[in-house]
């Protein structure tokens, strides 16, 4: 149809109008909170958490000066690094092993290995909580049936931190595996065939050709998992409740405790923790961009 039908050219406001709802919502619920956090972090709190007098960098200084908060940061980093290392290594290994596996088995195994992806953090934590519960948990029952006693999975600080890290690694493995599987599936077959013709063994091919080709996917997985690791909350809340003592307090868990945990609400300090998280995530994201560009 041509001729006299008027065309609906986009007016000046079509674009803005269509984008406006999303933009406005994100301004209110994503950007404004960052500003508000900055405001709250330089003020004290009253008994109900409302901001009171200006305290300057007092809250932020406490993040560095308070030993308890420093160990919270350390715990968070340890958990993030450990879980990321475990999950990424396992995912890359699984994808590489499956690459040359027999066709029928590969589908089944891939399906099984992607099951953790169906778990939410809460479901994964519930699973490991039931596994590691002291004496009534499945692990302790199995050990008892064999006449052994296990360590205090959730009652000793080192084991508790490990339990949270392993739960996180298991839960994140699903996602990491799916990414690596997709990446391996999209590899350019030409260099691989050439290498096979040259007589290169599977693992030489893996090391020399595949891993470099997977670099950006591996980087992506490492970065997203590190960021998730820095945000660990649910696993702590469900598995250990921050305990024993406060040995499994992560950054976000500490934020939650300070603001909503039942003691005196400290919104100023909690906001400072939120800003610290933002900075850490920013640093990790920036590192991804830098490393991603160096090719």
């Amino acid at each position: 149809m041509t001729g006299n039908v008027p065309s609906v050219r986009p007016g000046r406001w079509t674009g803005p109008a269509l984008a406006a709802p999303a933009v406005l919502l994100l301004l209110v619920f994503a950007y404004w909170p960052v500003l508000r956090s900055a405001w709250l972090s330089v003020h004290g709190s009253d008994l109900l958490g409302r901001p009171t007098r200006f305290v300057g960098l007092g809250n932020i200084a406490q993040l560095v000066l308070d030993g308890a908060l420093r160990s919270v940061l350390l715990t968070t980093v340890v958990m993030a690094v450990t879980s990321t290392a475990l999950a990424t290594t396992a995912a890359v290994l699984a994808a590489l092993l499956l690459r040359r596996a027999a066709q029928r088995a590969r589908g089944v195994v891939a399906l099984i290995l992607s099951l953790p992806f169906a778990y939410s953090a809460a479901a994964a934590s519930a699973t490991f909580a039931g596994l590691l519960a002291p004496s009534s948990g499945v692990a302790d029952r199995l050990l008892a049936a064999a006449g052994l006693t296990g360590p205090g999975w959730l009652t000793e600080p080192a084991w508790a931190v490990a339990a949270v890290a392993v739960t996180t690694a298991w839960y994140e493995f699903g996602f990491a595996f799916l990414v690596m599987l997709a990446a391996v599936g999209q590899l350019d077959p030409a260099p691989l065939e050439a290498a096979a013709l040259d007589g290169a063994g599977e693992w030489r091919t893996n090391a020399a050709i595949i891993l470099p080709a997977l670099r950006s996917s591996i980087l992506f997985v490492v970065v997203t998992q590190t960021i998730s690791g820095l945000q660990i909350f649910t696993q702590v809340a469900v598995l250990t409740g921050g305990g024993p003592g406060s040995s499994t307090h992560t950054l976000v868990y500490e934020l939650y405790q300070r603001a909503f945990g039942g003691g005196l609400p400290q919104y100023g300090l909690a906001s400072a923790l939120g800003l610290l998280l933002l900075v850490l995530v920013g640093v990790v994201s920036a590192a991804q961009l830098r490393l991603g560009r160096e090719r």
Binding site: G44, S45, D46, L47, L48, G49, R50, T52, F260, G261, G262, G263, L264, P265
Partner: protein, 472 residues
């Protein structure tokens, strides 16, 4: 010295002068008109409360609590009974909000957006915070405004003492627990210890050492440091105030913590000595481990709350007695602190009718038959003095000597500033601080005096920070 909570205004009509009846009527009508105009008052309720309640239609009130387990079930039943007997007027919606900590966090959140429950059941250490929040109507005022309801004199004086500030009762204690010294009678008799010597800390110390010496492999005593309650208990048993001035009950509240009083330090030193000499069993803050050790005969004496009686009964232990907390200060001014929780009525954003209905519920919950029923089902100690005269109660106590010991300890506790306990909103924080600073020293490791001085400094800083946050 601190006088007991204020008594309600005299209710007997013979006090009213007959010849001024018409003037009084005019004044009352005027007062009713005034209070009717201010529907959402947050100040002290007037004498028209009861009348307002009577003329209002059906009222629904909400109650939040943190009682789980057996106590929670017993509480639910009691509230259900209230609803069943009140079908044409007051209905109570009691909601379990998780632990006491969770419940208080929700309460603070609700205070921000004005959606607090009508009644809040919260634990002892939050008393200072609740008081400073200013959201609640003092129980004393409510009792005065509702003549014929709960007679505050019927509440155990020692329990009222805990919740009283400057002669006014803030909240009504509901589920009360007492600190006890449980002793294994078999082990003590084998070691040749006379239980009548266990009324003092020094007697307890001697007995513990005797047991450890006479029965190798058995420890003398265990005191789980869970929550830091015992530091406060030992201080009250030494007849000294935990915080000053006046345990935080005068002026605008506590401004410092004291851990270095003479008798107080001696009490701490006694426990530390037992730890250092290997006479005391160390379980850290694990109260369950302490209970298990006591049941299995690993330790002859155990400091624990009256709530442990249930655990001991469940474990089937027979050969034990419960004794009151050993004292280290003068008998007339030293004693135990109560534990447990109390009921607070919200005033902000709650009408007089709601407040009156809440008070009606609290009167019911504090009445002798309900306290007796609840205490028996939950293991807490009844807070109403009239319970003691009930024949069913006497029969129960005859077959439950441990419960009898807890009840008589409450009834006989002296009512002084020291035994009122420390009132400050910083108390939960202080407990954690003191526990962290002192747990090693009280187990006998390191320099006790230095640890106490450090703990005192840190705890006082907590109070100072709290005062800043509370805007004092």
């Amino acid at each position: 010295m601190s006088a007991p909570a204020s008594t309600p205004a005299p209710t007997s009509s013979h006090r009213r002068p007959h010849r001024h009846r018409s003037l009084l009527a005019a004044l009352t009508i005027g007062a009713t008109a005034l209070t009717g105009a201010c529907a959402t008052s947050s100040g002290a309720p007037s004498a028209a409360s009861t009348r307002a309640l009577a003329s209002a239609g059906p009222v629904t009130i909400t109650l939040w609590h943190g009682l789980g387990g057996a106590a929670g079930e017993a509480f639910t039943k009691v509230v259900q009974d209230y609803n069943d007997t009140n079908t044409d007027q007051i209905t109570v919606n009691a909601i379990y909000q998780g632990s006491y900590e969770d419940a208080l966090a929700k309460y603070a959140a609700a205070a921000r957006d004005g959606s607090t429950p009508d009644v809040m059941l919260t634990n002892d250490i939050t008393t200072g915070y609740m008081h400073d929040l200013g959201q609640s109507v003092p129980a004393g005022d409510l009792a005065a405004a509702n003549p014929g309801s709960l007679d505050l004199d019927q509440l155990q004086p020692a329990a009222r003492n805990y919740y009283t500030v400057e002669d006014q009762l803030l909240a009504v204690p509901f589920n009360t627990s007492m600190p006890l010294l449980y002793v294994n009678t078999d082990l003590l008799s084998r070691a040749g210890v006379d239980t009548s010597t266990l009324t003092t800390m020094s007697g307890m110390d001697a007995a513990a050492r005797r047991v450890a010496q006479a029965l190798p492999g058995t420890k003398g005593v265990v005191q789980p440091s869970a929550g830091g309650w015992w530091f406060e208990q030992m201080t009250a048993a030494a007849g000294e105030a935990y915080c000053s001035p006046d345990n935080g009950r005068t002026g605008d509240g506590a401004s410092s913590v004291s851990l270095t009083g003479t008798t107080q330090q001696q009490a701490f030193a006694t426990m530390a000595g037992l730890g250092r000499d290997g006479v005391a069993l160390q379980v850290g803050d694990d109260a369950d481990a302490a209970l298990n050790a006591f049941v299995s005969g690993q330790v002859a004496m155990m400091f624990n709350s009256s709530g442990a009686i249930g655990g001991l009964t469940k474990a089937g232990m027979q050969n034990y007695t419960a004794l009151p907390l050993p004292l280290s200060g003068p008998e007339d001014s030293s004693g135990p602190l109560i534990g447990g929780g109390a009921l607070w009525v919200s005033g902000e954003n709650h009408s007089e009718v709601q407040q009156a209905a809440s008070w009606n519920l609290i009167s019911y919950l504090s009445s002798a038959p309900v306290q007796e029923q609840f205490a028996q089902a939950s293991g807490y100690v009844p807070v109403n003095t009239q319970v003691a005269s009930s024949s069913t109660r006497q029969a129960y106590l005859a077959s439950n000597p441990a419960a009898a010991a807890a009840a008589s300890e409450l009834a006989e506790a002296p009512v002084t500033t020291a035994t009122a306990g420390c009132l400050t909103g910083a108390l939960p924080t202080i407990r954690k601080t003191v526990l962290a600073d002192l747990s090693q020293a009280l187990a006998g490791q390191g320099d006790l005096a230095a640890a106490l001085a450090q703990a005192e400094q840190d705890a006082t800083q907590d109070v100072v920070d709290y005062r800043a946050q509370a805007g004092k």
